[in-house]
Amino acid sequence: MARGLRRNTAAWLLLGPSSLALVLLFVLPIGYVLLLSVTDPRLGLAHYQRIFTVPLYTRVLVNTFLTSLVVTACCLVLGYPVAYVMARRGGWISTMLLTIVAMSFWTGFLVRTYAWLVILGSKGPVVAGYQALGLGQAPRLLFTTFSSTLGMTHILLPYMILALFAIMKKIDPDHLKAAASLGARPGAAFREVFLPLSLPGVVNGSLLVFVTCLGFFVTPVLLGTPRDMMISQLINQQIDELLAWGFASAVSVVLLAATALVVTVYNRFAGLDRLWG
């Protein structure tokens, strides 16, 4: 009894600081946002009504989720082979790839966004290469949905690769050897053994990229068109330009609820405890 109590005390002491920090820095502010959304400037659900009746907000909300979905898919398609090579090939290839991914990861996203402005710009290497090959007028690349998606994919790709790599690295190479010894061709061994074992990485990476992407706005503003507007941009506009904190809070709550829904679905099918491998 006494020992159990002491163990409990120790557990509480260990949990205390982080729980306090979470409550102070996360739960309370979000509670305040929730409160603002129904009280500022007056009590009521008018803000929520506006979000779901003015077409702009539902439209941008839907676009935010669609864009995040596309970016997640692009990251997965591009990131999977890289992570595969990193995990399966040891030595300098793996180290080099890891270094490149980490460097990209550590470079500020604004810097990477401006880099695309130069690369895809009318005086950039892509257009110059196009003309040097005699292909005539290059298609418009910059300030399109394409460039905005490309920029976001570039920024989020390292998250996907690292999440995949963490899982793939743990897959025992002997499993594949066993599959081969049982007569599986490399393709079949990958399909039947490696791919299913790497699925937790796929789910983790996708969730990480998807949720991060939901909050993006600078990259689509600088590289995309007004049609590519993300919900954070609207929230920022309401807070900083229009000082409409109540309405901004309501939009944030809707975004938070939608994100929570995605995470809940994930938890249902994959389990949150597996997020970090």
């Binding site: 003015v54 676009n63 402005l117 007004p226 049609r227 609207l234 506009q237």
Partner: protein
């Protein structure tokens, strides 16, 4: 044997130092606390703007009064509101657009002008507005690349809208009120009759140009990059940003007809800890000499007419408050803007995304 002595000597020196510090302690603390109360904090835009302020306002003010000036960037109205509501202050003074100043004043976020510090006879006409002091005037103009129009470039918003006579890539500022103003002038409304705005008419006119706008820019740096790299041939641009490109040798020309001239203001946050010193600084900042120094560095117009005495004719012609420029520009109606911005902004954002 030498070692302990060294330690002893060191300790003795330390003890002496500590004793001296203990004696001098109260003096040092007092000195420091005076220095601390004599520092003001200013919220400003950063970059070349703050560099110009440093040279024109902050350093001369510190030299004259001993009051130090620290800056915080970028300007944030949201933070102004948060500071006043929470009573925790990061800065005392903010640079702010006139329309936002008016909104802030209506919300009770501004310190009333302290007439015990500010002397009326030291101000120029219209220096005070909504508890702020007029800082400088900013032009939002049509700017274009001369090299793309050898036969002569666009001279008005009607030309900007004329994609047949003036083909080329275009860019506009992602700002509802400005865009609507320019559309009305393009549609034939005289610049001094734009307000109150016929919003429906303006949107109809904007529909025509929308497919030809390659980028809707939001940041000053971004606007310069677009014109410098030739991404676009003509665009809506802040006058000093365009002048800066011209100074760097880029073939950039500014049009003053139908430009919008807005006033940037200084405001003091309500109950800010250093508000007395803040008003002392603001009185200093609106005097002719500092205003001219600022305008000579960044081509935003001085609000104090006397400042033009310290500005060369060559520079004066490029400033928004130069008589010939101001005459043909849109006359803004800050009250109308403050009353309608939120509604118009929503419609504009929806229009852009559609």
């Amino acid at each position: 044997m030498t070692k302990p002595i060294a330690v002893n000597a060191g300790r003795r020196a330390f003890l002496k130092g500590a004793a001296a510090a203990a004696l001098a302690g109260p003096l040092i603390v007092t000195d420091r606390s005076i220095a601390q109360t004599r520092t003001i904090y200013v919220n400003t835009w950063g970059g070349s703007w703050t560099a110009a302020e440093e040279a024109a306002f902050f350093k001369p003010f510190t030299d004259a009064t001993g009051i130090r000036v620290r800056t915080v960037a970028p300007v944030s109205y949201a933070k102004l509101k948060a500071q006043v509501q929470s009573g925790t202050y990061e800065w005392d003074i903010t640079a702010i657009t006139q329309a936002d100043l008016l909104r802030a004043d209506r919300e009770g976020l501004l310190d009333p002008v302290d007439w015990s510090v500010v002397k009326k006879d030291k101000l120029f006409p219209n220096a005070v507005y909504a508890n702020g002091l007029a800082y400088c005037a900013l032009g939002t103009n049509l700017a274009y690349r001369k090299d793309k129009f050898p036969q002569g470039g666009p001279k008005s918003w009607a030309d900007f809208w004329d994609v047949k006579r003036f083909p080329g890539n275009r860019s506009m500022l992602n700002n509802a009120v400005r865009s609507l103003q320019f559309a009305l002038v393009a549609d034939g409304v005289p610049p001094d009759k734009v307000f109150p705005m016929d919003v429906d008419r303006a949107f109809k006119k904007l529909d025509q140009i929308k497919p030809h706008i390659k980028v809707w820019w939001t940041q000053g740096n971004q606007s310069q990059q677009l014109l410098r790299d030739g991404e676009v041939d003509m665009m809506v641009m802040w006058n000093a940003r365009a002048s800066e490109l011209a100074q760097q040798g880029h073939p950039v020309e500014l049009v003053w007809h139908g430009a919008t001239i807005t006033t940037t203001m200084w405001g003091v946050a309500k109950n800010a800890p250093n508000r007395k010193l803040a008003w002392e600084f603001l009185q200093f900042a609106v005097q002719p000499k500092p205003q001219a120094d600022f305008a000579n560095r960044l081509y935003y117009g001085p609000t104090n007419p006397e400042a033009f005495k310290h500005i060369s004719g060559e520079v004066a012609r490029q400033l928004p408050t130069y008589t010939e420029n101001a005459k043909v520009a849109i006359k803004p109606d800050t009250v109308w803007e403050a009353d309608h911005t939120a509604r118009i902004q929503e419609r504009f954002t929806q229009w852009l995304a559609g």
